[in-house]
Every structure is written in structure tokens, then in C-alpha cells.
Subunit: 524 residues, 2 copies
């Protein structure tokens, strides 16, 4: 395993190897379930302070497991975040970024030409080495062209969709997004899979739950170790819930969606217990980025006490709810302050499965098993990097976060009503131009100031000391960084979901226009 090689981290790397070896000799291969929510914010869980406290199942999961309150995504946007989780590598390494402009968030709308490279090794590919069967349920978002789909990258099964559930579209101009069962589409959103934009009604979360439960049951019967990547997207705008949940929340439609997801998590954990496999199944719950505050109160969640939301590298954009659950292995009711991130799930999953991580590339994820199983503090000083596109905007080290660049979005966008920090404004911090602080980063102490409102005085001894240690980490990171080939630069209407595999059988193939690629415009 290779990590950013500050001297302390070399030691960590060695320790991890040993703990990994122990696991290998132990020979156990627990099932692994990663539940990844879409645009759900840190503050959306009762246990993390949502005032209506409407997530009894997640709160119980935390009470039976370990809550990580300093857990991060790798990017404040969905596609790069998901690519990072599945590769254990920062988007700037795995190619899920753009160089079309500086520090721009990019993702995979259906006009995107790129996707996850064959050179990247995804978690299910690795898990296969130890006999795991893997399924993704829900949103993929690592590219929708045939070579980029989940079954081409290690997953054995898929029920869900390659893109966001936007629409409905006029199919002569833009195809509706397909829903796949394994390698073939089985219909399209708004045509075959209903989302009622007026009422918010859709059965998709229910379907995703059924698919997940069915997979767990089948693998358990087959005595097959499994990896379930449960990536429901009901909390992404347009937000939806099944009829029986609509109107049930104190929080409006968004809360209804959360309640159904919470219920689904409860059903999944409950099935594990019914099947008697809970002590052999590691479950992790988190989200892909902060709440999408720009979508307004009906269509977005809460980032609790944190600054701004999705699209930004402030805490509200990247700190995520996170719970690890594994009865008999993880002590219930624990809270960990370990700075950790979605890329650690790659490395941790491999450690749990007794598989050595790839040794031919830099991994950004660490093995969290010493933290989760033994409450170790040996990783406390590992850095967390906050990227926006091709730029390292900020880094966290211990309790400190240093911003080298700040940006919310442009004044032009703000004037159009696009606001990533509604109701929040910290002068010099939530800047509306890309503000460079590389010579003198803004440094916050996140323990005292989780809302990033009070930069340390640059004249203080504390600032000086922190800057020294952070600078060393940043220099090492930037010196050794080899950016991957950017996959999110080119767009083309011809590559949209006109004729996904399986469309013939359904009579749902559409005629693509002539190819006319352009450099995608990523405004923020």
C-alpha cells in the first residue's frame, strides 16, 4: 500500500500491513455493504442533530455501531466522489476531473464522453480475488457509455441507472435516462419508471430496497461472500419517496425521502440479523457529498453547523454522515473523531476481505480497521485533501484545515439565483471569485470553529506552527502527485443514452445525432 509519504505515515503503512497480515491469516471474509446516499448532508441524521429526529433506524445503527463525525467525501460532487470510493484514489488520480478550466467541479451528465478508465481497479474487481460476488443497486455515475458500465468494472450484478434521474426529456432532443438490470436497459425514467415531479411519488427506493434484500438473501443461501454497493438516490433533486412515505415527515418532501431511506437501512440490517449473518457482514453508511443547498428547502437537506454545501470545499460540501456497523466486531455506541474519507472504504474493505491492495499505484485510502475495531489513534494525523477539479483547495491535518484556494461560485451565477451558501457569508472565506491563498492559507481549527468562520490570526504562534506541519504535507503531496488523464473534458450529444444495450428488445432505441464533440463547460 502506498500513501502520502510523510514520515509518520510510513510508520502507519507498516502497521497497516501487519494488521492486514493478521486478518489474512485469520482467513475470515465478511460480507461488505456500502450504503452511499446522494446529496444527503451531515446534519440530516437525528444522531447528528437534525431537529425532527426522523431517522430512528440510522440512529439505532449508530447506537449499535460506530459513528464517525469527521468523515469526508473526496469531492463535493457525485461522480468524482463515487469514482474515488470505488478506486480508493483521489479523482485527480483516477481521472474524474476536468482541466477545461481551473478548479471546476465536473461530473457525468449524459453528454459526457468519458468515464472510468480500464486502467483503474475498482473495489469489486479486487474483491473477486477472494471469491466475492458484487452488486450495485442504484446510481452508478462513472460513465454511461457501454465500456464504462458497472459489469465492465467488476460488478456481477446491477439494478439502477448510469446517470441522475433528471427529466423528463423530449426524446427527439435528449433521451430519458435508462434503468438497467445487469448489462441491459429495462426501461427509462419517466417512461417506464415513474417519478411524479408534482407529487414527488416514485417507487424507486422501494425497488432498490427489494433488489438489495434479494441479493443478500441469494448470496447467503449460496454461502457466497458478497459486496453490496447500495447507492440510492432519492435525496438528490428531483427528490422522491414512495406513496406510503409522502407527507409523513416534518421536513417536507426531502424528509419523506430520508425517512424511506432510513426505513430501508433498517430493513437491510434487520434482514442480516434474521439471516444470522450480521456478525459476518460489515456495513458502512455514508453520502457522496454535502447537501445541495442550492436546490432550496423542499429539495435539499442539512449540513448541520457546517459552512456551505455541495459543490464547495467547505465542510458543508464534503463532511459526511458516516456509520460503521458490524455486531460482535465493532463496539456499539462508539464515536470516532478519526479524520477519514470514502477512499478509506476501498482499502478498509480489502483489509477486511484479506486481500492485498494494488501495489502498482498510489492509493489515497487508508485501512481504518485499527480505528473501527480497536479504537486506535495511530491515524489521527493523516491528511484529508479537498479538491475541486484539478486544484487542491484545502487540506485538513488533525483538527486544522488550511484553505489554499477559496471559492463558492461566481457573482454571475449568484445573480442568477444559484447559491451554494444560502444565508451564509463569511467575508474573505465564501468568496465569489477564485481567491488564492497559497502563500498564506486561511487556517481554521475545526474543533473550536467547525463552521469555518474564524481564520486563525496569521500573526499567532499557533498559525505559524500549523502552517509548518501542513506545508510539509502539502509539498509532499504535490511533489509526488501524478494526475490521471482527465476524463471529464469532452462532451458530445451523440454519446447520450440514445441506444443503450437492450434497447432493441424494448423497442426503445433512439437515433443519435451526428457526433460533434465540444469541451464541456463547467461553470463552477
Amino acid at each position: 500500500m502506498r500513501v502520502v509519504c510523510a514520515p509518520t505515515l510510513i510508520l502507519i503503512s507498516v502497521t497497516i500491513c501487519c494488521s492486514l497480515t493478521e486478518k489474512l491469516s485469520n482467513g475470515s471474509s465478511p460480507n461488505i455493504i456500502i450504503m452511499l446516499m446522494d446529496d444527503m448532508g451531515w446534519g440530516d441524521l437525528g444522531v447528528l442533530g437534525q431537529p425532527s429526529k426522523e431517522t430512528p433506524n440510522l440512529d439505532a445503527m449508530a447506537a449499535q455501531g460506530i459513528l464517525l463525525t469527521n468523515f469526508y467525501t473526496a469531492n463535493p460532487l457525485c461522480s468524482p466522489s463515487r469514482a474515488a470510493l470505488l478506486t480508493g484514489r483521489l479523482p485527480v488520480r483516477n481521472g474524474f476531473y476536468t482541466t477545461n478550466a481551473h478548479a471546476r467541479n465536473a461530473y457525468t451528465p449524459q453528454e459526457i464522453v468519458g468515464g472510468i478508465s480500464k486502467d483503474e481497479i475498482l473495489l469489486p474487481e479486487m474483491l473477486k480475488k477472494n471469491g466475492y460476488i458484487s452488486k450495485i443497486v442504484g446510481k452508478w455515475h462513472l460513465g454511461h457509455r457501454p465500456q464504462y458500465l458497472p459489469l465492465e468494472h467488476g460488478f456481477d450484478e446491477w439494478f439502477g441507472s448510469p446517470n441522475c434521474h433528471f427529466g423528463p426529456y423530449n426524446s427527439s432532443v435528449r433521451p430519458n435516462i435508462p434503468v438497467y438490470n445487469n448489462s441491459e436497459m429495462i426501461g427509462r425514467y419517466f417512461e417506464d419508471f415513474k417519478i411524479d415531479l408534482r407529487t414527488g411519488e416514485s417507487n424507486l427506493t422501494r425497488m432498490y430496497l427489494m433488489e438489495g434484500l434479494d441479493f443478500i438473501r441469494r448470496q447467503t443461501e449460496a454461502k457466497q461472500p458478497f459486496f453490496l454497493y447500495w447507492a440510492a438516490d432519492a435525496t438528490h433533486s428531483p427528490v422522491y419517496a414512495s406513496k406510503s412515505f409522502l407527507g409523513k415527515s416534518q421536513r417536507g418532501r426531502y424528509g419523506d425521502a430520508v425517512m424511506e431511506l432510513d426505513y430501508s437501512v433498517g430493513q437491510i440490517l434487520s434482514l442480516l440479523q434474521k439471516l444470522g449473518i450480521e456478525k459476518n457482514t460489515f456495513v458502512f453508511f455514508t453520502s457522496d457529498n454535502g447537501a445541495a443547498l442550492m436546490s432550496g428547502p423542499q429539495e435539499s437537506g442539512s449540513n448541520g453547523p457546517f459552512l456551505c454545501g455541495k459543490e464547495t470545499t467547505f465542510e458543508g460540501g464534503m463532511r459526511e454522515p458516516a456509520i460503521a456497523w458490524w455486531p460482535g466486531h465493532i463496539k456499539g455506541g462508539a464515536v470516532s473523531l478519526q479524520p477519514a474519507n470514502v477512499m478509506d472504504l476501498f482499502t478498509t474493505s480489502l483489509a477486511l476481505a484479506g486481500i492485498s491492495p494494488p501495489d502498482d499505484r498510489t492509493l489515497d485510502g487508508l485501512d481504518l480497521t485499527p480505528v473501527l475495531l480497536n479504537g486506535s489513534h495511530q491515524l489521527d494525523n493523516r491528511p484529508i485533501f479537498f479538491y475541486r477539479g484539478n486544484e487542491m483547495m484545502a487540506v485538513r491535518l488533525g483538527q486544522y484545515k488550511a484553505h489554499y484556494w477559496t471559492w463558492s461560485n461566481s457573482l454571475e451565477e449568484l445573480k442568477e439565483g444559484i447559491n451554494f451558501c444560502p444565508g451564509q457569508e463569511v467575508p474573505g472565506v465564501t468568496t465569489h471569485d477564485q481567491k488564492e491563498h497559497t502563500l498564506q492559507p486561511l487556517i481554521f481549527h475545526l474543533g473550536r470553529d467547525p463552521g469555518e468562520k474564524y481564520p486563525l490570526s496569521v500573526l499567532s504562534k499557533e498559525y505559524e506552527e500549523v502552517l509548518r506541519s501542513v506545508s510539509a504535507v502539502v509539498q509532499q503531496h504535490q511533489k509526488t502527485l501524478v494526475p490521471g488523464m482527465p476524463q471529464l473534458n469532452m462532451c458530445d450529444l451523440a454519446v447520450m443514452n440514445w441506444s443503450p444495450p437492450g434497447c432493441e428488445k424494448l423497442g426503445k432505441c433512439l437515433k443519435p445525432p451526428t457526433s460533434a464533440p465540444w469541451k464541456c463547460n463547467w461553470p463552477h
Copy 2:
């Protein structure tokens, strides 16, 4: 009992009488402990989303009791809030307000002439009727002149101080604040009771804990029902903690203070259990107003996802952490969304003690026992009023909050660096002039929008319907309101703590200047 008499509330009043009668016939008189924190914010508890999760005892208290997430103070400032708790009446009724200027927060600095009127009936006076012995530990803040002190208003014992622990002062200009044991001073802050402003070290919380534990032990031995009002002030600036807690928190000095208070709460609950009286002791934990955000990150807490803080009538100023604990009577791990407030503690305590509330005056507090003991929803539609001085700024009804006036503070103060909403700015809401909306109040749905960022459209049907029901409640309230004589209008340097009772014995009497009263200036 008289409450604001909307038709639905008359029904409630009747129901309360019956539940009260049941209690009376039952004959039990549990001990009552109210723990009132100073400037602690809603978001300072782990169970309410503080990211460092450093309140294990309070979190356990919530797990064993009921957490009220919609609990309010009666005023965003300490003195009026405390007066409301102990009288069950809004400050505008009990006199804890000013008419010197419109909508100004006023309190009891040591130059204040007024204090709690003899015409007001305080909770310990009422509890005496059923044989309760009452002690206040900590901050009083209802007037420091002899006639206003706790032992003149129903308390049997007192250890603590009449004012805030500001200082140190040059005693020829301004006396240091005295600390009392019962009816006599036993020293002064900074002279005899150390608070190290540089390190933040002080043993006061430890003393308050010892005093509380000792009182509980003594009353238990004497088989005497008791009321303990435990009003520690370590989280009020200047924030302090005992040596063993300093530097222990992730949150700096403020977090250290919270940790010691949390520890103390744990010690008190633990003693009740050791003494075997936990099933006969009702304990309530809350705070006097929102976190004092203007004091900066080292000296103030968190209001979680809510808007602004202390001094304001936004949620951050008045929504409080609140836990009721009573093993064997209150079901553990429950969460109540009941809109409730500190004045309810007056009426609820009387109901628990089997004492009829005063019938010669309007009370604003309701009996919460049906909610706390039986999970009743009959009080869901009771209004919560948000006053600033002599003005009703806002009212909450159900999930809706209507602002009739908005104000944070003046631009002049803001320019001087006094900011009640640091990092937050909601255009048209966090206004810097006193903005009147009485003809068309700003209405928020606090479930969907707890941060008060998105006023409902005045053109919506929802707005129209809410306005109709809120207007009826407000009209009724204002029509029947008889303001009390304002106690916080006059100031005089001669009334300061120059020669408190007991000063002779200590040789600590100081010579007051000639009386020269003036109308106190309340800038916000």
C-alpha cells in the same frame, strides 16, 4: 390555570386540570431538579449534533429520558429568561423588560435598580405549600439589591452569585461581584473566588457541583421533598473550567467548560441513583438562551443549524437543548417535538408536586406532564412567543413561525464588531434596522427550514392559511396582555454591590457613591 385563550387551548386547560387532579389524588411529590445552563446553545450537546460529541453524560441522560428538540426560552437574554422560568410568565408580564426604547433586551447588571417584584410568585414559594425545601446553586440574575435576593423569594438556600461573573473591577469605581452563601456574601469574584482570565481556570463549577450534591444528600436523609435549581454559569463569557478539564476538549476552552458541566450532570444523576431516589426525582436540563455567538469561537458555543444567537428572536437565540429525566416515569430514548418553553417548567413542576397554580394571574407555562409521561399531542398547537423587550417579535404555532419584527443589531454596533449572526446573513431577515412586518409577517416552516432562510411566498395558499390561524392567536394574545411594571428601566451606580449583606464580617464593605439614577441605555 389561565393560558392564552384560543378555543383549542380552553380545552387543554380543562384536560390539564384533570391530569393535575389525578396527580393530586395520587399524592406523590417527586423531588424536582432544574439544571439551567448559561448561554449554552442547542447545538452544544452530542445528542444534538455537536461534531466532537463530548457530552456523554447528557447524551446518556437523553437516552434514559426524553429529548425535547423544540424547546424554547422566553427571551434571548439571561435575566428575563430566568425570571420567566421561575414565575411561569413572560417577561413582559413579570416586569423583566424595559420600555426605555423599543424592542430592547435588558438584564440585571449591577447598576440596575429593579429586580423581581414581590408581586410575582416564584416556583419555590409555590412548592413550599407542599413542604418542599428549595435551593438555588449558581447564578440568580433577578436583581441583586437585598429585597430581590433568592431567600426573599421562596428559596431556603443559595450558593452563588446575583450577577454575571464579569470583572475584575477596580473596586473604587465598581465593586467585584459578590458570592453568597444563603443570605450573606462570603466573598467576591476575582478576590476570593478565582477566575483566571488568562488560563480560564476556576473551580466554580466544582463548587456548584459539591453544593448541589450536598443539598441532595441532606434532603434525602431528612426525607424532605426538594427543589434544586442548579444554575451553573461556566459557559457564559468569561468561560471557565476546573484545572482537570482545561485543555481536555476538542473545542477549546468553551468545550472544556461544557465537559465539566456534562460531568457534573452525570455526577448528580449518579448520586440520585446511588441514593435510590431517581424514581422520585424529576430532572430537567436546559439553557437560558442561545449561544453567545458575538463572543467568538473561544468563548461561545453552537446553535447547531439555527439562525443567529443570543440577543435575537431567531431560532439560534431562543431554541434550547432540553432533556427531561425521570426513570420509571419517563420512557427512555424518547424524542418529543412538542413546542415547549421554560415557563412550562413552572406549571409542570407544580403539577408534579400536586400544587394548584396561582389562579389570580395569567400564566404562560403549560403543564407538560401529559407530553412527558404519556406522549400526548394535545398541546401541539400551543403558541410560543418570541419577545425582545416590550415587543412581540415573532410567534410559533405548530411548525410555523411568523416574524412580526426582525432585527439583529444596528449597523453602528456591527461596525464596532458586535455581531449576533456571525457568518450568517439572510436578506430581509437578519435585518440591521428594526424592520416591521406586522401587516405581512415573514412566515417560515421550521420543519422544512429550521434555519429560517426561506420565507413562505406571501402569494401561496399555505401562507394565507397559516397567517389566518397565527393572526387569531396573536390578536388574542395582544388583546388580553396586561404588561407588568417594567423593572429594567432605571440604573444607578449607587445600587451596585458595594455593601452586600455580610460584608461587615468580611471587612469587604465599600462606600457607594451618591445616588444618581438614569434611564439605562439598552443598545440592542
